[in-house]
Amino acid sequence: MGFISLLATLVLFWTLTIVIRPEREEVLNIGNPVIVVMKALAQPMDFWTVVGQGMEEASREFGVPILLTGPNREKEIDLQLRIFDSVLNQDPPLIILVASDYFRLEEPVGLANQKGIPIITMDSDVNSDVPLTFVGTDNVEAGKRGGYHMAELLAARGNPHGRVGIVSHNQETATGIDRETGVRTALAEEGVEIAGTWFAEVDQERAYQITLDLLADPSITGIIALNEVTTLGIAQAIREQNAQDRISAVGFDNAPQILTYLEQEILQATVVQQPYNMGYLAVRAAYYHLRGKEIPNQINTGSILITRENMFEREYQELLFPFAEMDE
């Protein structure tokens, strides 16, 4: 008698607990943190810092522990390969990779796939079908944005066909390739003549020199630079040559100096990415995947064209000035 009533009680209490249990999403339970292999670890107040902030926010919000690693500076491909190797041995539940080389990371990513570690690429993709998704700026679209605006600028100055030089940072990097494609597509669509593409190898001085050469050509009416370093290079040359009245310049990225050039009207526009969103969406995609949800194979974090007119609009201020104080 006693035993039966005891059993009944246990069952009753148990059902009571079940019945009142509120519906709640399960907390993600992963042993190891998700490892993010960066192209370069953040320098104070740069693009990667903001990416990191976005990641942290998502990590906090979704309860996904993350661990950031990577070489200290960009272009250290060999070091990143070694780091990636050691990360594979740590058996993370997922790797978010910012590939420093489109081709050389292909094999290690395949290795990760063999070990069953899912990969999400961020910002810079890899020449591989293995990654679940690519989270980053649609660089072709970003390039087009710059290209169309260049066409507008040229038209506004009464020379819609002009002649535009493209200063790219690298011939092998996906961002460079895609942005150039976008720019060329847009310019071709608008009937703008393209003088050619020059590669500065991620070197401001090279970009500056290239621009000086371009400025020597009087037929050039527009210059488009495809990343921060090249933008700074062309702006520096234009300012020195005081060529802003004759040259329409469109750059990429939002370094404070670039924004100042924008204010000074040395640059007419800059195409900016959304690094905060990129970091946030990459970690969110990782969370979704670990929870077993489907994720699209490409997540575009968007790009925005910033001009002198809209740069102080409330909507873009956080994007352009992610830090409380930006001193050069």
């Binding site: 246990l10 969103n277 968007g302 104080e325």
Partner: protein, 603 residues
Amino acid sequence: MKRIRLRTLEDRFYVTFTLLFFISIVTMQIVSFRISIQTVSNNNAENNQILLSQLVSQINAYLGSIENLSRTLAQDPYSQEYLNTPDPSPELSRQLQERFSLALQARDDVSGILLARPDGNLIYGDPTTPLAPWANLYSRTWIQEALANPGRTVISPSYVQNLVENRYAWVVSLVQAVEVPNQDSPALLMVDMRFTRIQELSMALVNGEQGYPFILDQEGNYVFHPTLQLVYSGIKTEPLDKLRTFIPVLASKPPGSLESWVSGDQRYLLGRSNFSGWTVVSVSSEEELMADWQVAQVIFALIGLVVFLIIGWISNYLAQSITRPVHRLQEVMRSVETGEFTRAGVIEGTDEIRELAREYDLMVTRISELVTANAREQELKRKSDLKALQAQINPHFLYNTLDSIIWMGEMGQNIDLVKMTSALARLFRISISKGKELIALKDEVGHVVSYLTIQEMRYKKKFTYELDIPPSLERCQVLKITLQPLVENAIYHGVRDLDRPGTIHISARNDGESLILEVKDNGQGMNPDELRALGENLDQPLEEVWEEAPYGGSPSSGTGVRNVHQRIRLYFGETYGLTLESSEGDGTCMRATLPLLGMEEEL
């Protein structure tokens, strides 16, 4: 449906207790759980309210202190002079700039101080940083608003100050237009407050994993939001349209009022900083609270279970403590059925049970006493019966003997007279034998010999007798006056009326287990009917025999024999007694079976 029957007291106790407690615990748990949820929820809400109110008052105090600074600077004699002089000297400008610079250094939460004359000349606090030539101060809406409302401090939303070349600082500006005599448009004093302070204050309100605050200005635009980029990109959304409707509501209410709004599992708590007109919104997740509830619930269920188990155990123990003594008492009582008067003794239990056991013990003791008393009475009665039976010596025999003695005396037969008288005396001596029940066989034989001596003299030459008593048995104890009635019977019903000489043979023997005394005659014997009648008579109750043969009456046939039989049985038990054998014309043999008792054996 089969009904569960609760037969035993224990089951009833247990089930009733258990059900009652279960129902009350569950009810209590649910009620207290609800109350706890309410309390936790209220506490949480209260906590949020306190935090929000704190944030609002901190923002107010903060902006207030900046406004004080702004007013002080506006009232500063140097500022006044700078504004009132149509063409201020460079010296004055330098001195004013120094004062601004000092104020800046004194407060690291202020990033810039600017005083602009209506004519466009201006003083900026930091002499080391040139103002950007392209910056257009007057394009900002809050500057326009301040100019339109001289004397009133206008607080800007958070924005990036681009006055200084290459420096982009997040600030909140406090702007006031200062009326200048003889001028159409007022001068402008602007103090830039670092926005980081507001951010720091706000971020302190980030509670839990899901809670965060944000700040809206009077128009409902964001002043601060921890993930503003996500909001502007549409990755996150806030119900701004709804929240904006609270702004005028809060503005119409007394300072410090809060508004609350729940949407889905998000709880929005709104407070207004009257000083700035900002609305501070604190967002907390009900879901997170639910998670806490769930934990609380499991804890509650566990506590309930533990309490229930304890109470179940106690009620079981209690039920058993009541029923166990009852069971014990029951067992003790059952023993009475088998004739044992076991006492319950001290039974551990409640007072009632102990009292019951005590009463029962008293009762059993009383019954046992009564039974013992009854047995003793029976014993006494038996003894008195015995005595009475022993006393029953046929008076006729005495009369006749005395008559014979008288006759002998008259006849001068002195020798016979002495012989008979002494035999009679011995007979009586042995009969009395100091009141003992048991006497030695030797004495018993002596007794019967005395009797036979008398009878032999009375019935001259009618019979002879033989004794066959082994000396080894002489000391055996026998019930006194056992042989005499048998011999009497043998004489009166056997050999007395015989026309040939009769013989009475008296013997004793040990058959290994008992002592057999035999009185055998060669008299007329009994026919089977007589024998059967006598045999049946033997076992007739004593009382009847008694009534049948009162003292006065002539002893009917077999009365003495029956008397012996009954006495043996009374004294030694049912296994002993007399057996008769007889055949008509051949004589009778009466055999008394007695236990073998040594000399020492006494009653």
